[in-house]
């Protein structure tokens, strides 16, 4: 394609191409330096960590802190990781089901009270977490779910934003296929599970990643409802590390890196989706 010279006049004209890159790379360094510093520091020996002033790079890099964490019998690390994985996956599966199912109903059915019902669901978006935090805690106490992983799952099975997103998507899907299936004797649920659901890969993936990351990083609610060490999720374990091992910096740093890695790993493969999803959610 031939580009006319006047097309895409850009900031590059003001700063010059190299100036633009200089600023962008400066931002890049500011973003990555904290992560990088923690990562290299986590490879230092205890003696090096105590050294003042410290060196930026470790003189004798070691994975000791990592192996310490992974092999320490006193830390129920495996349990804590499994807790996080279980809660995150459960919430992803449940959220994807309720969002797509309710989204389907709101997108493709006409019935009395539909707008009212949708309005009731949207209230959730308007209510900040800290308002329902105290009553939900009391509710969880009444339900006997304190210090149970279900306390993280049961109060968050319906996601208004997810329903909204799925409704938007399903509305754009043609109705003809549904009618044809109906003629062939498909049940209404069958239409959802066999015709609608298989076409929803991309939006379900976006919502799923989003839910997974939010749950994996969630801190305040688990802090309130979980009490025993073997019920902790990863962020709670990390905080415990920070308060218990104040003298052992290396362990805390290694634990931080171990917490960040799974999300970074997911992000490397799915960054385009994640970024797009974040962009769209602003304009819900």
């Amino acid at each position: 394609m031939v580009t006319p010279p006047v097309k895409r006049p850009s900031a590059g004209f003001i700063l010059g191409k190299s100036g633009v890159y200089a600023v962008l790379i400066l931002g890049l360094v500011a973003t990555l330096l904290p992560f990088f510093y923690i990562m290299v520091s986590s490879l230092k020996t205890d003696a090096e960590l105590r050294k003042t002033p410290p060196d930026f790079f470790p003189q004798q890099p070691t994975f000791k802190h990592y192996t310490d964490i992974l092999t320490d019998e006193r830390i129920p690390l495996e349990r804590n990781v499994l807790n996080s994985v279980f809660v995150s996956l459960a919430r992803v599966v449940i959220t994807l089901f309720t969002s797509s199912y309710a989204g389907y109903i709101f997108a493709k059915y006409h019935f009395k009270g539909k707008n009212l019902a949708f309005g009731v669901i949207l209230i959730q978006i308007m209510i900040p977490f800290q308002v329902v935090m105290i009553p939900n805690y009391l509710l969880v106490v009444r339900l006997g779910l304190i210090d149970s992983l279900w306390a993280l799952i049961i109060p968050s099975m319906v996601d208004a934003y997810g329903i909204f997103m799925m409704k938007q998507f399903i509305e754009s899907m043609p109705t003809e296929l549904m009618d044809a299936a109906r003629m062939d004797g498909a049940s209404e649920f069958g239409i959802y599970s066999r015709i609608i659901l298989p076409q929803m890969g991309p939006p379900l993936a976006s919502l799923g990643i989003f839910t997974f990351m939010a749950t994996w990083n969630d801190y305040l609610w688990p802090l309130i409802v979980l009490t025993s060490p073997e019920k902790r999720t990863i962020p709670l374990l990390l905080v415990w590390f920070q308060t218990q091992h104040t003298s052992n910096q290396g362990l805390i740093l290694a634990a931080s890196i171990l917490t960040l890695l799974p999300i970074f790993f997911v992000y490397i493969f799915l960054q385009r989706w994640i970024v797009d999803q974040a962009t769209q959610s602003a304009f819900k």
């Binding site: 895409r8 006049p9 962008l24 973003t31 059915y109 800290q130 805690y137 305040l220 920070q242 974040a278």
Partner: protein
């Protein structure tokens, strides 16, 4: 084809049965979901509202519905009066927290925009491949666990040997004795600890606004910019007269979202500064949490605090929806 036309056709054909079946399906499917929303969204909000008019301690056995009444008496608007004018410690800390929360927000928003807007314009001007790469990296802190971020920054802010102090020394400046714990260091009326939290928070959060601005810039039709150029506008004029006005709605919306989220920042305050020193970084949400779950003397008071925060956020949310509904045509 719209589904209602199918309904009409079928009704005309006399097969309203199909329509009834669909309606029944819709109702039976939605009832559980709505009941669930009633229990976990509507009930809590109403209960929080009611509770804010009671002196409520969960371990005391109240007499009435859900333990309200009896040992947990109705106190009318006493909790609110206490919060606004009372001399109790929680109330005094809360009023400080309201001030701090607004101060935090007032610092975060401009700092965020000053970084993200120019960065977005620069990012938009470079080639597609680098743009994607840079954008992905800038977004990295946003997806990271806040707890890990706090640990990273506590390491950066460590007094004496932390990364920031080392950087200060490297360029010949004298770093403050303590970044997070010295209540006497105040710049332009803002405590140093607050500035430190603002910087750490903006670092974690700026990627979010950045990607929104980049997307908004990309959606501005090139023809508009071309037309301006053809009419003889230079790059500056084009930016200020074409790009900025078209971005106004996005910037406004993003600002409201940033304010809403800044009012609810928790982890960094609870773990990095713990509200200190001398309550200089105590915020509303931290107050609500501590009164409800650490001190747990009167959940009614915490509920009243949360209602005050709720009203502030609700006002902003309504503003946000107003802006969203404004039609904007290029």
């Amino acid at each position: 084809m719209d589904i209602s036309s199918v309904f009409k056709k079928e009704t005309v054909n006399g097969t309203g049965k199909l329509m009834a079946r669909q309606r029944r399906f819709a109702y039976t499917s939605l009832v559980p979901i709505l009941l669930y929303m009633g229990l976990f969204t509507l009930f809590p909000i109403v209960f929080a509202m009611v509770m804010s008019f009671f002196s409520y301690t969960p371990i005391r056995e109240g007499s009435g519905f859900l333990g309200l009444g009896g040992a947990n008496p109705f106190v009318s608007i006493d909790n609110y009066i206490e919060l606004l004018t009372g001399t109790g410690k929680p109330a005094e800390v809360f009023r400080l927290a309201v001030r701090n929360t607004f101060l935090f927000t007032a610092l975060v928003l401009p700092l965020n925009l000053v970084i993200t807007l120019p960065l977005a314009v620069l990012l938009e001007s470079i080639g597609e491949r680098f743009k994607t790469l840079f954008r992905a990296i800038y977004f990295l802190p946003t997806i990271s666990s806040s707890v890990a971020i706090v640990i990273i920054w506590s390491y950066i802010y460590a007094p004496g040997w932390g990364l920031l102090s080392l950087m200060f020394k490297a360029v010949g400046l004298v770093p403050p004795k303590s970044w997070l714990q010295d209540p006497s260091t105040v710049y332009f009326g803002v405590p140093l600890a607050m500035i430190a939290v603002v910087v750490a928070h903006v670092w974690q959060d700026f990627g979010y606004n950045l990607v929104i601005f980049v997307a908004a810039l990309q959606s501005i039709p090139k023809t508009l910019r071309e037309a301006a150029r053809v009419d003889g506008a230079n790059v500056w004029q084009e930016f200020w007269l074409v790009v900025v006005p078209l971005l106004r709605r996005t910037v406004l919306l993003t600002s409201v979202l940033t304010v809403i989220s800044s009012l609810q920042v928790f982890v960094i305050f609870q773990l990095l500064t713990r509200g200190g020193p001398k309550n200089q970084t105590q915020t509303m949400l931290l107050s609500i949490y501590e009164n409800a779950f650490r001190f747990a003397n009167n959940l009614g008071l915490s509920a009243a605090m949360s209602m005050i925060l709720f009203i502030i956020i609700l006002t902003l949310t309504v503003t946000q929806f107003r802006i969203l509904r404004t039609e904007w045509e290029y």
